[in-house]
């Protein structure tokens, strides 16, 4: 025990060594996010004739550690839009709070003409682009699903660089490699959206979640899925992958203890 107030309540130096002050770094350049820490993996989504289906699993990983297993990565906005988050989870939480305060403020002015998916995408894209331009990116890849001003299905993406694009089917992260080819088989172009039913869209999205679980090591078999139509959002956050078949795994050679 000494007489310096700053040492009170701290472990004794003679027993535990002096306190490491390095993380109270006061000089040197300001640092922003250099890489994501706790991450969510793919989000997949597909349009159909009356709306959009979107899904993401419930896992948040810390590197290769499956850290949180009941994370809701699909977030509802004013009962008409769903935002799917891939990438850093803390940045997702920040955006979630941002959207909540936006929704509260929107309802102050008037409850008529609520923000639709298209409006929300424009807003989020500008937030993302602003943050990347400040060299302080929000480390996420977002899919925004809902309806546009004319009640037509709307699906678009915004990422940490502020890049935006729209397509009948979208998938972030690993889904870009594994899910998109499957989704595009059903929905090759905008015209095909009219020919796809809700059931077909849900089925193909679930199929994609399964393939992603087979091949993406940072994925899990519990997931959330949402269907957005004119009459609102149906969000299920506690789904389990069904009809898994690991038969293909037996033919995989060259890993672990197996030899050729």
């Amino acid at each position: 025990m000494n007489h310096f107030p700053q040492a009170w309540g701290r472990p004794r130096d003679d027993v535990y060594g002096s306190y490491d002050h390095s993380h109270f770094q006061t000089n040197g350049p300001n640092q922003h996010t250099q890489s994501p820490i706790v991450t969510g993996t793919s989000v997949v989504a597909a349009k159909f004739k009356d709306g959009v289906v979107i899904a993401a699993d419930n896992l948040a990983s810390y590197g290769s550690l499956a850290r949180f297993t009941d994370v809701k990565r699909l977030r509802k906005f004013n009962d008409q839009v769903v935002v799917g988050f891939g990438g850093d989870v803390s940045d997702m939480q920040y955006l979630d709070r941002l959207l909540l305060s936006l929704d509260i403020r929107e309802n102050y002015s008037s409850t008529e003409n609520p923000l639709n998916a298209k409006n929300l995408h424009t807003y989020l894209a500008k937030v993302m682009y602003k943050r990347r331009s400040d060299f302080n990116p929000l480390w996420n890849h977002l899919l925004i699903a809902g309806l546009d001003g004319e009640d037509k299905p709307f699906l678009a993406s915004a990422d940490l660089l502020g890049t935006t694009f729209s397509s009948p089917t979208l998938a972030t992260g690993f889904g870009g490699h594994l899910a998109q080819p499957i989704l595009r088989k059903l929905l090759p172009d905008e015209a095909s959206v009219e020919r796809v039913s809700e059931e077909q869209a849900v089925e193909v999205v679930k199929e994609c979640m399964k393939v992603l679980f087979y091949r993406d090591a940072r994925s899990m078999d519990k997931y959330s899925i949402a269907v957005i139509k004119k009459d609102g959002v149906e969000l299920k956050e506690d789904e389990k992958l069904e009809n898994q078949s690991w038969a293909f795994a037996e033919r995989i050679r060259g890993y672990g203890t197996q030899t050729a």
Binding site: D20, G28, R132, S166, S167, G173, G176, E190
Partner: protein, 264 residues
């Protein structure tokens, strides 16, 4: 998206469970591992005629070997009325980093619209072209990573075409290709539009050869050239394909066409 999902545990921070924990603050500059740009591929092309200008671009958007979408326009009407830019006579094409391209388009569009509110007349292409140069140059230390081409009709009713580098250097040209397949398309244009390496038949050999003089081409020929240029580029460049968007600017307005390209 490899940069988003590196899957690596946090690095560089103090790890308190290890002995080699730094006891002094890190000094010196650290490199940002965040790179604020990406290349979204694609190609654009513009050709001006006697009383028209054609701008064209493919609609594929890429990220590495991935296709983001098969329909992402690179051509934007500038000015005019409302969000649909009704009555506009100026077209901007951007290729490179799409987010910067969108931001640049948005800025130029509002400026051109504000110009009309403030001065009561539409901006000329020449003025718009110079303004675009200034926008790019003002951000030269953190550039809009795009190759822009601006097209319209000048005050004499002639087709006008301006091309830019990312930091605002610009010139008026007869034709210009930009983007991923620029190096494939530009020599083709040099030959077919500016008639480079074409000589008058029978004018002799060696120094006697008389170069063919470039004339403004008719609209039909230009449209065919553009389509040929892109179908060829699609064959040889993986980032080009899916669809061809064309905008033809005449004194009567802007005509827009869409032609499918190979999706492979």
């Amino acid at each position: 998206m490899a940069s988003v999902f590196t899957g690596a545990p946090p690095q560089g921070g103090p790890g308190y469970s290890f002995k080699q924990t730094p006891t002094v603050a890190l000094s010196g500059e650290r490199q940002h591992s965040f790179y604020p740009y990406t290349d979204n591929g694609g190609s654009t092309l513009g050709i001006s005629g006697a009383d028209f200008t054609i701008l064209a671009g493919d609609t594929r958007s890429t990220h590495g070997y991935n296709i983001n979408t098969r329909y992402a326009p690179k051509l934007f009407k500038i000015g005019g009325e409302g969000p649909e830019n009704k009555g506009s006579r100026i077209v901007l094409s951007v290729v490179g980093f799409a987010a910067d391209g969108d931001a640049l388009k948005e800025r130029l569009d509002t400026i051109v619209k504000m110009y009309k509110y403030q001065h009561g007349k539409s901006i000329t292409v020449a003025a718009c072209a110079q303004r675009l140069s200034h926008i790019l140059y003002n951000k030269r230390f953190f550039p809009y990573y795009v190759h822009a081409i601006l097209g319209g009709i000048d005050e004499d009713g002639k087709g006008a075409l301006y091309s830019y580098d990312p930091v605002g250097s610009y010139e008026r040209e007869q034709c210009r290709a930009a983007g991923a397949a620029a190096s494939l398309i530009m020599p083709f244009l040099d030959n077919q539009v500016n008639l480079k390496n074409q000589y008058e038949p029978g004018s002799g050999t060696g120094h006697d050869l008389q170069a063919k003089l470039a004339q403004p081409l008719p609209r039909k020929d230009v449209e065919d050239l553009v389509r040929d240029a892109f179908t060829s580029a699609v064959e040889r460049h993986i980032e080009v394909g899916d669809g061809l968007q064309m905008m033809i600017i005449t004194k009567d307005g802007i005509e827009e066409t869409f032609t499918p390209l190979k999706k492979d």
